[in-house]
């Protein structure tokens, strides 16, 4: 069997407003006090000083990421979703299908946290601590804003899994994130349906996100209310799947 040539397939377009430079981005994150959350997401070194040396160190570390680190990265995202859906339901602004959809999603995110925790412990890893999360003002003030945030979070999470799964070497570790990845895509489709999308599953090749892209996307939830110096958070709707 020949090794395949590198080829770019058409992928889901998730446009991110990326920081001007990686260094600027991580400096801003470190200054924000979001270091704890970043450590959970595997960027502890950069969160400490945000310097170029740390950046190089981190890049080397990324290359050697263990399966457990990737699983912890996924766990951190599940913590975020678990926290978000819990607060969304507590806010008591959801009715009808929106409530039943998000209630089911919360239950499933809880199960994902348990499953990833099991895998990490089973393989002798150290569990990441659950970070403190913050949300943009008004997130939980109406059903529309909650569902909009859910759409953004699910798009990021789906992209994160698609990007991260190929990094996992051990089949025993990989199988659980694979199983969860598909459910995250289902959540995205369900939320798209809530948003009134005629074709809620509208991209044939969902795109994976790099770790930096995921970090950029979740930074506001780690206590960074503004990322203007680093590109800023993506505007509403930017994570919607593009039609192809």
């Amino acid at each position: 069997m020949r090794e395949p040539e590198m080829k770019e397939y058409p992928v889901r377009s998730r446009r991110f407003v990326l920081p001007r430079t990686r260094r600027d981005f991580f400096k801003a994150l470190a200054a924000s006090g979001a270091a704890g959350g970043l450590a959970v997401l595997g960027h502890g070194a950069l969160a400490q000083d945000g310097g170029e040396d740390a950046q190089r160190e981190n890049e080397v570390a990324q290359e050697g990421d263990s399966d457990i680190k990737v699983a912890n990265f996924a766990l951190a995202l599940e913590f975020l979703e678990q926290d978000f859906y819990g607060k969304a339901l507590e806010a008591d602004v959801l009715t009808g299908r929106a409530r039943s959809y998000l209630q089911r999603a919360e239950d499933q995110e809880n199960q994902h946290v348990v499953a990833l925790t099991d895998v990490i412990q089973q393989y002798g890893g150290t569990l990441a601590e659950k970070p403190q999360f913050a949300y943009p003002q008004g997130t939980f003030s109406s059903q529309a804003s909650v569902v909009g945030q859910a759409q953004r979070l699910e798009a990021v999470t789906t992209g994160a899994y698609i990007g991260a799964v190929p990094e996992i070497q051990d089949p025993g570790v990989r199988s659980t994130p694979v199983s969860i990845a598909g459910v995250e895509d289902e959540h995205e489709v369900a939320v798209n349906d809530l948003m009134g999308a005629v074709l809620p599953d509208d991209v044939a090749f969902p795109e994976g996100l790099t770790r930096d892209e995921v970090l950029t996307a979740v930074a506001p939830y780690l206590g960074l209310s503004s990322l203007t110096d680093t590109g800023g958070p993506p505007p509403d709707g930017q994570y919607r799947r593009s039609r192809r």
Partner: protein
């Protein structure tokens, strides 16, 4: 044409056609959970999850080439299934838009898998002359949507079973994307069927390799 808007789809009874494809499918396909059922274990708790997660062991040693050939035929079957559903004329409005969209995406999957096979030097098998879909599967909208659910479950289960042991990194990146889409398509079909909430599984269900082959045959893939 019977216009089947999504709102109507949600209200439509879904049990009537289960006697068609699904019964045959579930009777003949020994799902990954069969061993668990035999052991008296049900639900989606840790024991079930771990056993589900072991489905990948049945793909070990089969190789990326075998996986590619199988999912190519599965994608062709899925594409044909949606095409025939669209051609029935049962659907209109947003339901038709969705089914045409899903059909189009599986056409792209077939093309993507074929290109990957060519790049890897894997033999691209000819498309079967005919798929033997279950009798009555295209007799009415509900029966057709049940077939779609069954086909999607085979697709999802196959990808999920094999993904943990795919070795080629480029293929793995492609397969996780296709798998993700397929799970979304499963959910989209649930929306058309009126399943509320449509994301009704906390974990996708893997199929062992022999179960996937059996299940694929049950929904219309001819035996080699």
């Amino acid at each position: 044409m019977l216009p089947m808007e999504r709102a109507e789809g949600r209200a439509a009874p879904v049990g009537a056609a289960r006697k068609l494809s699904r019964r045959r499918f579930l009777k003949t396909a020994a799902w990954a959970g069969a061993a668990l059922s035999a052991a008296g274990v049900g639900g989606s708790g840790p024991v079930v999850r771990r056993a589900q997660a072991q489905a990948y062991t049945t793909y070990q040693g089969a190789g990326d080439e075998t996986f590619l050939q199988f999912v190519l035929q599965l994608s062709r079957l899925t594409k044909t299934c949606y095409q025939r559903g669209v051609d029935t004329g049962f659907f209109g409005g947003s339901a038709l838009t969705q089914l045409e969209g899903i059909r189009g995406h599986y056409v792209k999957h077939v093309d993507g898998i074929t290109e990957m096979m060519e790049q890897m030097g894997v033999e691209v098998l000819a498309e079967p002359a005919e798929f033997t879909f279950p009798q009555g599967a295209f007799a009415d909208p509900t029966a057709f949507l049940e077939l779609c659910s069954d086909v999607e479950e085979v697709d999802v289960g196959t990808y999920q079973g094999a993904l943990p042991v795919i070795e080629n990194k480029d293929l793995l990146a492609l397969a996780i994307s296709f798998y993700s889409y397929t799970c979304g398509a499963r959910c989209a079909v649930n929306i058309l069927k009126g399943v509320d909430p449509p994301h009704n599984l906390a974990f996708e269900e893997a199929l062992s390799r022999p179960d996937a082959q059996q299940a694929a045959e049950a929904v219309g893939l001819p035996v080699e």
